[in-house]
């Protein structure tokens, strides 16, 4: 089933083209990596998909509807690029951070009160943070915060999860366990995952399909084909994406 479809999508910022004529289909069960250099439009594309930015041309369909018509935002989980740049003095407990997504708006079937608290505890257990429910978010490490933000994105039982450079600022050990969680969600629970990254090492280990973006989509297909493609060979030759990016 096609969950998200982009047809001829372009986006211009102050007259400068950022995305040009993008065609992309995200199907149920995909684990898709969107890769590309800094400034290639990866984050912009996700923001256009989520309705945070209006496309200059073309059409986005979320579960068959345009972002303006779409109301069931609980079906889409999102972990933004700077999620772990938390104000260390913001006085929110871990369970409050996760529960925010349930309080974003009345949705059919959305739990409330005691059921909501139980659901929050359930997803925190799922990402290995069950023991930290009452801890202030600012006292957690970057890796722990990232798990909490995954839990927040999962608490509404989404069908598709977008993660924008999710391991920026997270150490190598925590990155490995983080991707294990994503693998489990995709493989065992059939969650569709869209991962924005420029770390080709991650792409090789985990994803099932790849989209290469540099204003235009230069490649979109399976991971196996990607590894045999000229695009991949060029990237390896140039060494563009082999170094973990530090912000």
């Amino acid at each position: 089933m096609d969950l998200i479809v982009l047809r001829g999508v372009s986006f211009r910022y102050d007259g400068t083209p950022v995305l040009v004529d993008i065609d992309l289909t995200i199907r149920e069960g995909d684990f898709l990596a969107i890769i590309g250099p800094n400034g290639s439009g990866k984050t912009t594309m996700v923001k256009v998909i989520l309705g945070l930015l209006p496309p200059s041309a073309g059409e986005v369909r979320l579960f068959g509807r345009t972002p303006a018509e779409f109301t069931d935002w609980g079906k889409i989980g999102y972990v933004p690029q700077k999620a772990t740049h938390v104000d260390p003095f913001f006085p929110a407990s871990v369970e409050e951070v996760v529960g925010m997504a349930l309080m974003a708006g009345p949705r059919p079937g959305s739990p409330s009160g005691r059921d909501a608290r139980a659901r929050v505890r359930e997803v925190l257990e799922h990402v290995g943070m069950g023991g930290s429910a009452r801890t202030p978010i600012g006292r957690l490490s970057g890796g722990q915060q990232q798990r909490v933000f995954i839990a927040r994105a999962l608490v509404t039982s989404p069908r598709v999860l977008f993660l924008d450079e999710p391991t920026t600022g997270v150490d190598a050990d925590n990155q490995a366990s983080f991707y294990e969680i994503l693998d489990r969600l995709n493989r065992d629970e059939g969650l569709t995952i869209v991962l924005i990254t420029h770390d080709i090492g991650i792409v090789n280990k985990h994803v099932t399909s790849v989209a290469c973006l540099n204003q235009r989509l230069s490649y979109h297909g399976s991971h196996a084909e990607f590894c045999r493609s000229d695009v991949f060979r060029d990237m390896v030759t140039r060494g563009d994406h082999l170094i973990a990016h530090e912000h």
Partner: protein, 273 residues
Amino acid sequence: MSALLAYGFLQRAFASGVLIAVACAVLGVFLVLRKDAMIGHGLSHIAFAGVALGLFLNVLPLGAALAVALGAAIAVMKLKDRAGLHGDTAIGIFSSLGMAVGILLASLARSFNVELMAYLFGDILAIEPLEVGLTVALAAAVLAAVRLNYGKLLYMTFDRESARAAGVKVGRLDTLLMVLTAVTIVLGMKVVGILLVAALIVIPAAAGLQVAKSFRGAVAASAAVAVFSVTAGLALSLALNVPASAAIVVLCFAAFAGSFLWKKGRGLRPPSE
């Protein structure tokens, strides 16, 4: 003290003071965390023009201040959006204009300077029954609006982009927050005056944020500090014959200093990775 509380003017002062304190404290936590703490200061200066206008036209000053502050709050939002100004610039423009208009009206009328002083420095002990009714209704409406939108306001305050992606209409909530702040400022100026009302928004929230481990805890601690400061400040004012507004703000600061020292004593710091 219990004998004094039998007086109607004191009952009115305590009842409306406590309710306004809670409304200021609850909104203050959101505003401080959004780095919008100075909005209270700006809107109070704008409300000064409304009070002067009310006195000049001989209509209820609280009502005139409310109308002017609400209009200015919406104008600030529009100016931010359409002129591409930062929030503090738009607030700076309107707060200066508010003070200037207020001074002009006061100078033209000449006759109401004493009444104007009551609004500048606060006079909760002189609150009228009509003002108590208006205050109770508006403060209850502010608290009800926050309660109804609590989850969305919290989400937007913590992570604006994710809140938008989750379908939260952040633009509407920004306007709601500005309107609620304008109402609360107008109510608060009767308690501590135009010059000090921003303190009732900022200081209890800052104190609550020192000690809280959760957002709900911060709101509760902030409300507790505000209620303590208003009730104890009124009591001090009666006992020592000092202005209630000044006593309230000094007690707010004492509570903040206490919470800061308590936190420092416990060595609470965010961790490094």
